[in-house]
């Protein structure tokens, strides 16, 4: 079976081989970027990710067979240029329930239990996260990278990934409170996690 490392190795001799990596992962990168910053930004991020990857193909660690953490790492960097678009989008999403965020009466939110409201609460919580924590949790939930993969993508030790994920999940959990099946949790007053 051809691994990503094989493709990249071959591309050193015959650069055209690098397009195999593009064909394999372009859509995945596009989807992730589109979820984070919209389709317009995603188009740029996707194309640019592979241009950067191609230029830096010598830096790919041949011991790793899977190129996804490496590619998502590049995409994550490029997405930082679109942080305003992302922030705007989250803001719009957070507002879409007609209320600023989850920092409202639990009873009223519970009455309007639906996907849009849940998405709005999640968006509100994502806004409250630091950029590093947000990148981390989204690489986990949307890019489906493992802890190791995120560590590789964001070039931080795995312990840092763990603590970032914990912190992010705690804030998201607070925001998700009213939508969780665990009603006892939901009734409980919690410290607001807004930044």
């Amino acid at each position: 079976m051809t691994t990503d490392a094989d493709i990249i190795r071959r591309s050193r001799e015959s650069p055209q081989a690098f397009t195999e990596l593009y064909d394999k992962y372009a859509r995945m990168i596009h989807r992730y970027a589109a979820r984070r910053a919209g389709e317009s930004a995603a188009e740029d991020v996707m194309a640019e990710t592979f241009l950067v990857a191609f230029e830096r193909r010598d830096s790919f660690d041949q011991a790793r067979n899977d190129a996804r953490p490496w590619l998502f790492g590049i995409a994550t960097n490029l997405l930082r240029k679109h942080h305003r678009t992302e922030a705007k989008m989250l803001k719009v999403l957070a507002k879409s329930s007609g209320r600023d965020s989850y920092a409202d009466s639990t009873d009223r939110i519970a009455e309007r239990l639906d996907a849009a409201v849940a998405a709005s609460a999640m968006a509100g919580a994502l806004r409250a996260l630091s950029a590093a924590d947000r990148e981390c949790i989204l690489l986990f939930a949307w890019a489906e990278l493992s802890y190791e993969g995120i560590a590789e993508a964001t070039k931080v030790p795995i312990g840092t990934v763990r603590s970032r994920l914990n912190r992010a999940r705690r804030i998201l959990k607070d925001a998700a409170g009213p939508f969780r099946n665990d009603t006892e949790e939901a009734e409980h007053g919690r410290a607001q996690a807004t930044a």
């Binding site: 859509r27 979820r35 389709e39 241009l51 999640m122 939930a141 998700a176 939508f179 969780r180």
Partner: protein
């Protein structure tokens, strides 16, 4: 349902990426792999048109200037046309006589602006084949209001309408623009920030200290502008005029500096009266401008000759660009300043 499941469901409804997008990215990659091997694909400008390339001629000149440690650039290479200089110098003397509205303690300078920006978007043409992309163009309008407190350290407010597509250069442009606008949704914002540090970034507005620091002597002011903009834009003189237009449209420029900026513009080679009856957003004035040879785009500054007030500035395409016909205005800003007693 736990928080991860909720998060995974969020924005899960992203449409499948179009093949044209995948093809375009692949094309760019192939071009990078073998620059000569594939037809050169033009990277499409997406946002408002930004000109960052310098012509070889400018590069040469800049190198010579820096190398030769030449600092006094203004004056010896010519100046604006006599007619333009007259309009600008008259506007300058009118400005000097103008008393700027005084922003008292607790009051705000309110700067209302209407801004039109061009969007260019790559779309696949009717043949649908790979690499057969074309572009569509339209203008977005954004209305903004800034409230600048008398004490700049206090809270500022910035109301933005968000970009709304308003002028379409083709039917396809209209379709694309409206589709995009729908995707992006309402982007209006009401921002508040002490010291004008919106979006958590330091204010991009000129500080009072900075404004006070600019020379009121037109020649020295222009020399300073040349040094500031050296290497930017497509030409030295073009960038100097753009810099002046950018500063004027902040609405924060005091009358004496406004006068000096007009006089400095009168010293820029290639500047001429481009339209005696220019109308922008319902206000008429005289347009003073300069054609950028490399791009064939003209930068105009529009002044009310009776008062010396700035009406606005605009960019005009002198040749067709994609769906934009020659002579079309591809961007403009008008400003109006008033003093108000409170924030919205």
């Amino acid at each position: 349902m736990d928080e991860l499941k909720l998060l995974r469901e969020m924005r899960n409804d992203i449409p499948i990426v179009k093949d044209s997008v995948i093809d375009s990215g692949r094309h760019q990659l192939l071009h990078r792999i073998a620059p000569g091997g594939v037809k050169k694909s033009k990277r499409r400008p997406r946002k408002a048109l930004r000109i960052t390339l310098m012509t070889t001629a400018t590069l040469g000149l800049v190198t010579a200037l820096v190398g030769g440690n030449v600092i006094g650039l203004a004056g010896w290479r010519g100046a604006a046309s006599a007619e333009a200089a007259e309009v600008l110098n008259n506007a300058a003397s009118m400005s000097i006589k103008t008393v700027d509205p005084v922003v008292g303690p607790g009051q705000y300078l309110k700067i209302d602006s209407t801004n039109l920006w061009m969007s260019t978007y790559g779309v696949q043409d009717a043949s649908g084949s790979v690499g057969s992309n074309t572009t569509v163009e339209w203008l977005d309008t954004e209305k903004m209001s800034f409230y600048v407190p008398a004490d700049r350290d206090q809270e500022w407010v910035w109301d933005r309408s968000g970009r709304v597509p308003t002028t379409f250069f083709s039917a396809q442009a209209k379709e694309t623009a409206l589709e995009q606008a729908k995707d992006i949704g309402d982007t209006s914002e009401h921002l508040r920030a002490a010291n004008g540090a919106f979006y958590g970034s330091p204010s991009t507005f000129p500080t009072e200290k900075e404004l006070a620091g600019y020379s009121r002597d037109p020649r020295m002011l222009l020399n300073g502008i040349y040094l500031k903009t050296l290497g930017a834009g497509q030409s030295l003189d073009g960038e100097a005029l753009v810099w002046i237009a950018d500063l004027l449209r902040t609405g924060l420029v005091p009358a004496d500096l406004r006068a000096a900026l007009y006089q400095a513009a009168a010293l820029i080679p290639g500047v001429s009266v481009t339209d005696n009856q220019a109308t922008l957003d319902g206000q008429s004035g005289v347009a003073i401008g300069r054609v950028e040879g490399a791009s064939n785009i003209r930068q105009d500054v529009i002044i009310d000759p009776a008062t010396g007030q700035l009406i606005g500035e605009r960019q005009v395409a002198l040749e067709a660009m994609g769906s934009v016909p020659a002579g079309a205005t591809i961007g403009w800003t008008t400003i109006r300043t008033t003093v108000v007693n409170s924030l919205p």
